[in-house]
Amino acid sequence: MLSFSQNMKKISSEDVHKEVHRFWAILSGNLTDKLEEMYSPTAIVFTGKAKRSESGKLMAVRRSRQIPGPAHSSRAEVGSIDVQIVGPDVAIAAYTYSFNTQKILANGSKVQINTLLGRATQIFQRGEDGALRIVHEHLSAAAPPAMEKAGE
């Protein structure tokens, strides 16, 4: 657990908005920052279909492998982001999103996955180095994602 130092800049809503957009820009393949660096080493996440929580770092490494190259960039649209500042160094971002991405299945075929009714909770904490990191994430969808065969 990190403690807030008086010298640290207090977390602001703008800081959180910026990080949320950075997160989706990385996932969409539009930004080459490392996804795993957005997570605290102790982060816990619930991903879209997982029955149990898992380590944020491990999930980020796995998710990074699925980030499409420039030729197949994904598309994310983030709705209005509600930010609750719940401490000098902690904020909760909650919002809806849609995410359209391509996935290669085990048999080599490509599918297009459309998550239209995504819902996200991301809890950010400012680390001792001043960077905001996700300490907890819960992604879910109000309806199962639509899957269709992708064109070449």
Binding site: T42, I44, K51, V86, L117, R119, Q125, H136, H138, P144
Partner: protein
Amino acid sequence: MLRRLPLWRRRANDGTASTGKQSLARLAVSEDLDGSKAYAVPCPIMSNISSDDVRAEVKKFWDFLSRKLKSQFAEMYLSSASVFAADARRMEPARLMLVRRERELLGPASSVAAKLGPIDVQPLGADLAIASYPFHLSITRTRASGKRYQSEVPSGRVTQVFRRDEKGVLRIIHEHMSSAEPVSTKELPPTDPLKHA
């Protein structure tokens, strides 16, 4: 007149001397005996939220819900709390969700039974902690139309962010419930209203 109080005075003013449970961070301003304002500052005796405290609150949450203890259940949430309900497309204020849950889940013909998985707790300072865990939920709900439905949530997942209020009580400030698998729902035959009156 502003001045810092000695530690023992601050604790006595807050009424926490006997329990030592509450955080001194909440003592931002207190009235001194002579009516002047006294400012206290957080100090090293501030007690962090323990994992056991959070797990106890989670168990209370489900106990209140399954026993239909409406007011106790409502008090689990801070007035500013926000919620993603399992079947909702958008986030909503907890107070709205409570009205719906009260109507659908806490009525005489409704029921809630939950089995909780292991509860992960992430403390985030003296006044904040995150609980996350899987759950299996069986519910019978009564819609506004009067129709009753039985739903099984086999792979529920929940994130609950707890924050201490000004009295030191842990309350939910944000909740996100979801299901990793589709929820199965079936309509139940109508019941005799007198039976549940």
